[in-house]
Structures are given as C-alpha cells and as structure tokens.
C-alpha cells in the first residue's frame, strides 16, 4: 500500500486518543505522515499548541483549497504535483533556542558559508554583539530568525528589540503570545481564498516570522530570516507577517537555501506586509533555493505569494529581490496602494540558468489618490532557461494622480534561453501617468572579449557584466547583502557560457 494511502487508512481506523498517541510517536520522529487531510492540518495546529481560532482558520482554508485548481497561466512547465505525496510537517530537531554555534547543524553553517552569508551573522545567533562605537556598516547588528524545514530554531536580539517595542518572533509563538495582533492582521492582505498556493499555505503553514513595529519606532536593526529546506519530500510553507504601525520603519531580509535533491520540492510561502500611515517597510529577498542539476533534475518549486498593503496615507513598501535559485519560480511581490500618497517599489533581479523557469514580476494596485509606484526589473536568462517578467499596474477610478514608472531589462546569455515580458496596464482614470520601458539584449561577445583580454576568465567576465547590468537593483539592497548578492550572481551563472 502506498504510504499516503496507508496513512489515510490508519487515521480512519484510530479513535481520537489513539490518534493522538499515533502522532505522539510521530512527534518523536518530528515528522507528520505524508499526505494532506484535515487530520494533518489538526496535527500541525496541535503540534504548535495553537488556539482553537487558529485551527478553525486553517481548516476553513483547507476546505476551500479542496475546491480550487492549480493555476496554469504562468509560463512554466512541470509535471503535475501529487499533493498527497508530500510531507507537510517536519522538524529536524526539538524546538529550542540556539545559544551557541555548536548547537547549529554544521551542514547549515556550511550552507550559509556557500550562500555567502558570512558567519558573523550566524555568530550573532550566539548573541555576539559588535563593539560599541563600531560604525562599520558590515558590522551593523542584524537580528536573525532561522527557519529549518518547518520550524523556527532561533531568533536573536529578542531582548534588545523588545526594549524598542519591536516584536520579532516565530509566527507560531506570536499566535500564542500576541493573538490579538495575529488575529487582526493574518489573512488581511492575502486572504485565505486568494490563490491555490496561498490557500494551501493557510491550511498547513508551520512557521515563519512575525514582526510588529509600534507607532513612531524606527526598528534599531535589520531583521533577517533564513529559510532552509532540509528534509526529503517535504513541502515548506512559511508564513510571514510584518506590521509597521504609524510612522514606523523596518527593514527585513530573507535568505533561502536548500540542499541538492533529485526530487523536486515544494515551497509555497505567504508573506503579508501592512504599512499604516507614514510607515515604511523595506523587504529584501536573496533567494537561492536549489535550482536542480545541469540536466534539469530536482530543484525547488517556488510558488510564493507576497503582498504588501500600504494601508495608511503616505505609507511606503519596497520589495527588493535577488532570485537566483529554484527550478521553478512563480512569484509576484505586490503592493496595494490604498492610502493616499502611498508608494510602492519593486526592484528585482531574476537570474535563470540551466533548466530553470522563472515567471516573476509584480502588481501595483493604485487605489488611493496621488499614489506612485516604481518597478525596475532585471531578468537574466542563461543556459536553457526561460525567464518571464509578468507585471500588472492598475489605477482604480478614484486613484487620481496615480503614477507608475516601469523599466524591464532582459539580458540573454547564449541562444538556447528565452526572456519574455508580459506587462498588463489598466488605468481607469485619465489622470494616471504610466510609463513603461522594456529592453532585451544579448550579452555582447565584444564586451566579454574585452574583459577576457584584460585577464578575466570567461565566467568572471560574465559575472562582471551581469553585475553591471543589475547594479541599479543591487544598490537597493542593504549594503552587507549587496556584496553577498553580487557573489551569488556570479556563482549562479557558472557554466552559463562556452
């Protein structure tokens, strides 16, 4: 009997107490059985000691999900996913706060090293603080929340953040400790019914980060989360919720990695941002999920819903992403410009190599008056990859004075890859001004040869030229990560030519 079937049968056979017991054993192994059912949803909720309202919310999402279809409009192609053949919960270790480097899996440390996230950030998990008066920006404090598989293992600088009134913790903890905030905001930007993957996430999400910045507070440090998929056949469903109350500011960075596996692994996260009056949220992503091998085997399916709600007047949300990993990326970080004079930004670098498929872009929904948005997208396609920018800019009837500027540049490396630009523009009032520019070019042989003549290897030359191409976006990243992203870009293009 296939494992999934077996689980279903077993769950049917046992009564509630036995059921609990059955899962207790499983808790030892820290893994829920394969497959998805109401029981699995309950298991996850129970594992997290969630209140009843949370379980209810999940179950509603699950029931909704059962009625939904996987979207097919994106320019990506993959075999049908068997959602019953996945694990929906896996915790590699008992959950506890990591207090020293020794307690972190050396494999994870190695991964960070490879990703180029310097160990000093990991060392911060230890609470090692920089010397007072140290103004080197590379030594700026960064609070880290590390999520391995489905569980958050460490959040650093909690105490110091608390002093400033900032709440930064795993969302599983926030559900218990700050239910009023979670209940108020969760699903308020990405409703449980939003789309197939977001709905799935709502049913089974296991952890992620929660941030609340109180009125008038400028978050004293960068907040950062590292997501890591370790387990085989495990879907990862993080849920991140960031709320910037009136007049506050926060900068948040997420990094993602996964080991090499022959099978494809599913990652379906939901990120919700809420910015109240005069608040600003800067959200940066360096995504380096395993992209699959050179024959296109394995790699992460990255189906992510990220949305920011500029709920208040003069609020601002800015998305910056450097996407180099995943076999398939399906991701459109968006802004709902609800408040008057609010603004949204989307800066993106999407690199595809090998057999990667990227369908990414943004949505800027102008609802308030005098709202503005800016989109700078740099797509780089190499190998046999396909790279699509898909963007939507709309102005509502009442969004008078809405402005958007979009610039989409694509760079092709070699002639077996493809770059595509799919802009949708809708202005429902005549005072909106939308500007759209798009270019597609091939990396110039003459430029590469120039660099190589000056001593750079072919790969170094490609890395240099591409880094030049994406410079405008790199500049938007917090400085310490811009350097790392730059390295990552070069690494991800290895073997792209010749």
């Amino acid at each position: 009997m296939p494992a999934v079937q077996e689980t279903v049968e077993r769950v049917k056979r046992i009564d509630v107490d036995q059921y609990r017991y059955g899962f207790e054993t499983l808790i030892d192994s820290e893994k829920a059985p394969k497959g998805l059912s109401e029981e699995i949803v309950k298991f996850i909720s129970q594992k997290k000691n969630e209140p009843a309202w949370m379980l209810q919310w999940r179950l509603e999402a699950y029931r909704r999900w059962l009625t939904m279809q996987e979207p097919t409009w994106a320019r990506v192609d993959y075999p049908k996913i068997d959602f019953q053949d996945l694990y929906y919960y896996a915790a590699p270790k008992p959950k506890k706060t990591v207090t020293s480097l020794d307690e972190i899996d050396p494999e994870i440390l190695k991964t960070y090293e490879k990703l180029g996230i310097p160990l000093r950030e990991v060392a911060m998990l230890e609470g090692v603080e920089p010397k007072v008066g140290e103004d080197d920006p590379a030594r700026r404090k960064i609070a880290v929340d590390a999520v391995f598989d489905s569980v958050s293992v460490a959040t650093t600088f909690k105490a110091e953040l608390k002093k400033a009134g900032v709440i930064f913790m795993p969302i599983s903890e926030a559900i218990r400790e700050h239910p009023e905030l979670v209940q108020k905001y969760l699903g308020s930007v990405v409703p449980t019914s939003d789309n197939f993957y977001a709905t799935l996430n709502s049913a089974v999400f296991s952890d992620g980060s929660f941030v609340y910045v109180p009125p008038g507070v400028r978050c004293p440090m960068e907040l950062s989360t590292y997501f890591r998929i370790n387990e085989r056949n495990t879907g990862q469903f993080e849920r991140t919720l960031i709320i910037a109350d009136k007049g506050s500011y926060v900068s948040y960075l997420e990094g993602c990695t996964a080991p090499q596996r022959d099978e494809n692994q599913l990652h379906a996260a939901v990120v919700e941002l809420v910015a109240h009056d005069d608040a600003e949220i800067k959200y940066s992503t360096v995504q380096n999920w395993y992209p699959g091998n050179s024959e296109g085997k394995g790699g992460i399916y990255n189906f992510v819903t990220k949305r920011g709600d500029c709920r208040g007047d003069r609020s601002k949300i800015s998305w910056t992403q450097v996407e180099t990993g995943s076999a398939i990326t399906w991701k459109y970080p968006s802004c709902i410009l609800r408040g008057d004079n609010s603004s949204g930004e989307f800066y993106s670098i999407a690199i595809s190599n090998g057999f990667q498929q990227v369908d990414s872009g943004t949505k800027m929904i102008h609802l308030g008056k005098n709202t503005s948005s800016r989109i700078i997208s740099k797509g780089i396609a190499a190998g046999k990859s396909q790279n699509t920018y898909r963007g939507l800019v709309t102005a509502h009837r009442k969004a008078t004075g809405a402005r958007n500027f979009t610039a989409c540049d694509s760079l092709l490396i070699g002639d077996k890859c493809g770059a595509h630009t799919v802009p949708y523009i809708e202005a429902k009032n005549s005072s909106a001004t939308f500007e759209h520019e798009a270019t597609t070019s091939k990396i110039s042989e003459d430029v590469l040869f120039y660099c190589i003549q000056r001593g750079l290897s072919q790969e170094e030359a490609v890395g240099l030229v591409v880094n030049g191409f994406v410079k405008d976006v790199l500049q938007q990243l917090p400085m310490e990560f811009a350097v790392e992203a730059q390295k990552l870009i070069s690494i991800s293009l290895e073997g792209s030519v010749g």
Partner: protein, 250 residues
C-alpha cells in the same frame, strides 16, 4: 630575442580567408608599426594574437616568448603579457572603471601566482598613472567607457596598458579620434612604457603618430600579408605615394 613570432599565418573568418600567410617577428625592446589600407587585415591580426573567438587559424603558428600562443586561452595570454588596445573600446555599463581595473589586474596577478594588490597600493598606482595621462579621477568612477569621448576611451586603453605592464602591447589605431593634444599625451604615455623587455606593435593609418612614437620597423600590410618592411622612412614614403604600389605585390 624574439618576443613574438608569427609564421606563415593563415586565418579564416566565416569561411573566407583574411590572412593569407602572414609572417612577422618582433624582438624585445622593439617598436613595430603596421600600416595598410582599410580591410587589409590589421585588426584581424591583432585579434588573432589576442585570441578573440570567431577566427579559424588554418595554417601557420604564433610563438610568444617561444611558447605556442594559439594553445593558450585569451585570458592566459593576457596574464602572460599580451595586451591589445582596441580600435573600438567597448562600454561596460554599471561596472565602475576603478572596479574593472582592479578586478582585471588582480585576475592577471592571480593567474601568474602573484599576490593581489592591497587597496592603498592599487589606488596609489592608479592615481599616478591616471595623472600622467591627464585622466581625471572622476572618470574612473564612471562605468567603463560609458559616456567617454572617443579620445577618453583611447586614453583609458593606455591607462590599462600602463597599469598592467604587459610585455607585448598591440595598439590598434590608437590615434583615431584623438585631437592633437590628446595624441601627444597618449603617445607620451606609450613612450614612457618603452623598455628593453617590452615590445610594441602600433597599427596606424597616419605617419603623424609615428612622429611621436618612433618605430624601429615599419611593415606594410596588404590583402592579408606583410608586403614590405623597412625603417621609419617607409612610413614617410607611404604618406607621399599611398598604397597603390603595393596592391600588385599582394
């Protein structure tokens, strides 16, 4: 000692033979000028020496310091000391000139097993060289050749040459697009690099450049061959009578 030996070189581009058996020997310490009508294959020769892809060598050989140059990748050739100042230097948007210089210099040094330059040493060196070439520091912050005038691009080539200290400098029409003052400055820069260990191949259409950079040997190229070689007087002769007399020889 011979630094560069090109022997009976035949080169095809897209099925068409451009160099039909070219022979040229350049010794250490010498400056050679190559002159010849448009399309005679001067740039092709320089590209093949530097290792630009797209050229098929069907016969002959190129030795550099006695080694088979055609066996080396173009970046290896650069690290070994082959430098080509391009007729048309390209622009590299978003890559600051300073970053480019440093990346290239360190790549070459690394390939040779030398240590990388420290930031202060590197900055000092760039400052010195750019000053002598009248290149403002601001220019080095801009993208490589982006928005540079024709003359500035050429000066940037000489800057790199001075910085990398190659043993063979090939200058492809360094004088095109330079005004008189810029020409003098660039030529001074080149002359400053003349040394008993270094050789130069100066490709030009105009005798004028050779007043500044005085060659030891002048070659006339026509239709993919060297058809005549001589002393610096040959350039003056050409200026007076043109290339017509060599058409038949080729």
């Amino acid at each position: 000692m011979a630094l560069l030996e090109v022997k009976d070189l035949k080169v095809r581009v897209e099925e068409r033979e451009i160099l039909h058996g070219l022979t040229l020997t350049v010794n250490e310490g010498e400056v050679h000028a190559i002159m010849g009508p448009n399309g005679s294959g001067k740039s092709t020769l320089s590209h093949v020496i530097a290792g630009k892809p797209g050229y098929e060598v069907t016969d002959g050989q190129i030795l550099f310091k006695g080694e088979d140059l055609l066996e080396m990748s173009p970046d290896e050739r650069a690290a070994k000391g082959v430098f080509l100042a391009f007729q048309y230097p390209v622009e590299i948007p978003g890559v600051a000139t300073m970053t480019f210089l440093r990346t290239a210099l360190n790549a070459q040094r690394k390939a040779r097993g030398e240590s990388e330059y420290s930031t202060p040493d590197f900055l000092k060196k760039v400052r010195e060289v750019s000053k002598s070439l009248n290149i403002p520091q601001d220019m080095l912050k801009r993208g490589v050749n982006v928005g540079f005038s024709g003359g500035e691009k050429k000066r940037n080539e000489v800057l790199q040459m001075a910085l990398f200290e190659p043993s063979l400098c090939i200058l492809d029409e360094m004088d095109s697009g330079l005004d008189i003052d810029a020409l003098r400055i660039a030529a001074d820069g080149v002359n400053a690099l003349r040394s008993p260990k270094r050789a130069m191949v100066v490709i030009t259409h105009y005798q004028r450049l050779l007043n500044y950079i005085v060659p030891d040997v002048v070659h006339v190229m026509s239709k993919g061959r060297v058809v005549k070689s001589g002393g610096k007087e040959l350039a003056l002769e050409l200026e007076a009578s043109g290339y017509a007399q060599f058409e038949d020889a080729a």
